[in-house]
Amino acid sequence: MTYSESVLNHYENPQNVGALDKSAEDVGTGLVGAPACGDVMKLQIKVGEGDIIQDAKFKTFGCGSAIASSSLVTEWVKGKSLEEAMKIRNVDIANELALPPVKIHCSVLAEDAIKAAIADYRKKQQSAAVGSPA
């Protein structure tokens, strides 16, 4: 397997590796994939004023393309609104990283991870709203 320049760059210098406090109100966590399939991504977003994503962190078990896909999406979502982040498509990730066909699933996983993180954040907000006294 030969890797594109951009996959190598993200692999060598992954952006936003780490963790946010998953119990915090303003943090959404997405965990997707399966160890038995060889990739698991954990992607977290910290959401602020006006539903803008202020910070994003990831941890990924997977090949170089999976790591690069996670690193790239954490870069992309920062500064975006939740609405905009929902629009990120796996094809954009795959194109940016020049992923070969056998690695497309890595970009799919990254899209799923974003959506899962946003869904987790929204769920927290809803239960906070329901739970708070009127």
Binding site: M1, Y3, L8, Y11, P14, V17, A19, L31, V32, G33, A34, P35, A36, C37, G38, D39, V40, M41, K42, F58, K59, T60, F61, G62, C63, G64, S65, A66, I67, V102, H105, D112, A113, K115, A116, A119
Partner: protein, 404 residues
């Protein structure tokens, strides 16, 4: 120390310089066809081929007259299995093998299954071993061939050939072994092991690619084969085709060196393997050894680095050539079938790296490889959600995390 470092000696080996030197004249002045019976060009080629045949025979305790040259172990496996199947079809069409064989054996048997043969796949234990008693229990009066490899190419497990051979001999069933990885790496003797057919490959023992051999026992019992390659009747009719004289000469020299230097070679590769293993286990937690702790090829180290994916780890050691059982390194996205047959959990199969240490590796190389692996594993674990969960005491092995 020169980069990149080659530590993938199960895939292939570098041609020993002594081998290359012996081969060269047969590409130039001594270019004759070994089948040309009436001029010195042919005689010289034939003499060189016959000398090589003796050397290859000696490597496995056989006579040169029992060696049939082929294009490699793949062809030898095909010839042994298809050749026996056809020649002995009146006796029956039952075969016995095991699931970690090379595809050259498994896929050839599949062809026979499609033609109506039945094949018993004996189970292997967690270390990759077949139990000889299981071979005995599976034999029927329709069994024509037992084929069990000498040494596995991924995990290095050495099968109990002598015990299996004794059973087959007692029951009068032919025994074939694919020794592509085994010959030249440990003491191999067709008499002591009672094997009847042996597949060999030159490029696994510091010879050239594209040349191999099939040992075909000539007496007690005399093994007969139907050829798979038809034509000029070379190799006593068992394998037609003009002989690859330079390749065969190289194979002979490679076999001679392996035989004469065997003790030194085992000591060298095993010491390096142990050095690598010791350094890695000292510096890293959560390592598992795949294969057998002692019954393994001296240069083989197959390890799973939990919480880290194999291909990602190989990227962290980009000036080092090794291989991985990870799905990501194959087009099929399936992890290694060998590791799965051993019952290695899929998660750990994805995390496996095979180090294949050979004749030309050095201590300095092993130390460099160890340091790259340690740094790579630490870096990747720091970004692994599975490692994080393990640290927090959350089990993850069987989990599946769903998208919304």
């Amino acid at each position: 120390m020169k980069l990149p470092i080659y530590m993938d000696n199960h895939a292939t080996t570098r041609v020993d310089p002594r081998v290359l030197e012996r081969m060269l004249p047969f590409f130039s002045d001594d270019f004759g066809n070994a089948a040309s019976r009436n001029h010195p060009f042919g005689w010289k080629a034939e003499a060189a081929v016959e000398a090589a045949r003796e050397e290859v025979g000696q490597l496995i305790g056989a006579s040169g007259r029992e060696i049939v040259f082929t294009s490699g172990a793949t062809e030898s496996d095909n010839l042994a299995i298809l050749g026996v199947a056809e020649f002995y079809q009146s006796k029956g069409s039952h075969f016995i093998t095991q699931p970690t064989e090379h595809k050259a054996v498994l896929d050839t048997l599949k062809v026979l299954e499609r033609r109506g043969a039945s094949v018993t796949y004996l189970p292997v234990d967690r270390t990759g071993l077949v139990r000889p008693e299981a071979v005995e229990a599976a034999l029927t009066d329709k069994t024509v061939l037992v084929t069990i490899m000498a040494a596995n190419n991924e995990v290095g497990t050495l099968q109990p050939l002598a015990e299996i051979g004794a059973i087959c001999r007692k029951k009068g069933v032919l025994f074939h072994t694919d020794a592509a990885q085994g010959a030249g790496k440990f003491d191999f003797d067709v008499e002591a092991m009672n094997v009847d057919l042996v597949s060999l490959s030159a490029h696994k023992l510091y010879g050239p690619k594209g040349v191999g051999a099939l040992y075909v026992r000539r007496k007690n019992p005399r093994v007969r084969l139907s050829p798979t390659m038809h034509g000029g009747g070379h190799e006593r009719g068992m394998r037609s085709g003009t002989l690859n004289v330079p390749g065969i000469v190289g194979f002979g020299e490679a076999a001679r060196i392996c035989r004469e230097e065997l003790a030194h070679e085992i000591a060298h590769t095993q010491a390096l393997r142990e050095r690598l293993y010791a350094t890695l286990t000292k510096e890293l937690t959560h390592l598992t050894l795949n294969g057998h702790p002692t019954l393994r090829l001296p240069g083989n180290l197959n390890l799973s680095f939990a919480f880290v994916e194999g291909e990602a780890l190989m990227m962290a050691m980009k000036d080092i050539a090794v291989s991985s059982g990870s799905a990501c390194t194959s087009a099929s996205l399936e992890p290694s079938y060998v590791l799965r047959a051993l019952g290695v959990p899929e998660e750990l199969a994805h995390s496996s790296i095979r180090f294949g240490i050979g004749r030309f590796n050095t201590e300095a190389e092993v130390d460099y490889v160890a340091s790259k692996v340690i740094t790579g594993v630490k870096k990747l674990r720091a970004m692994s959600p599975l490692y994080e969960m393990a640290q927090e005491g959350v089990g993850s092995a069987s989990a599946s995390f769903q998208a919304p």
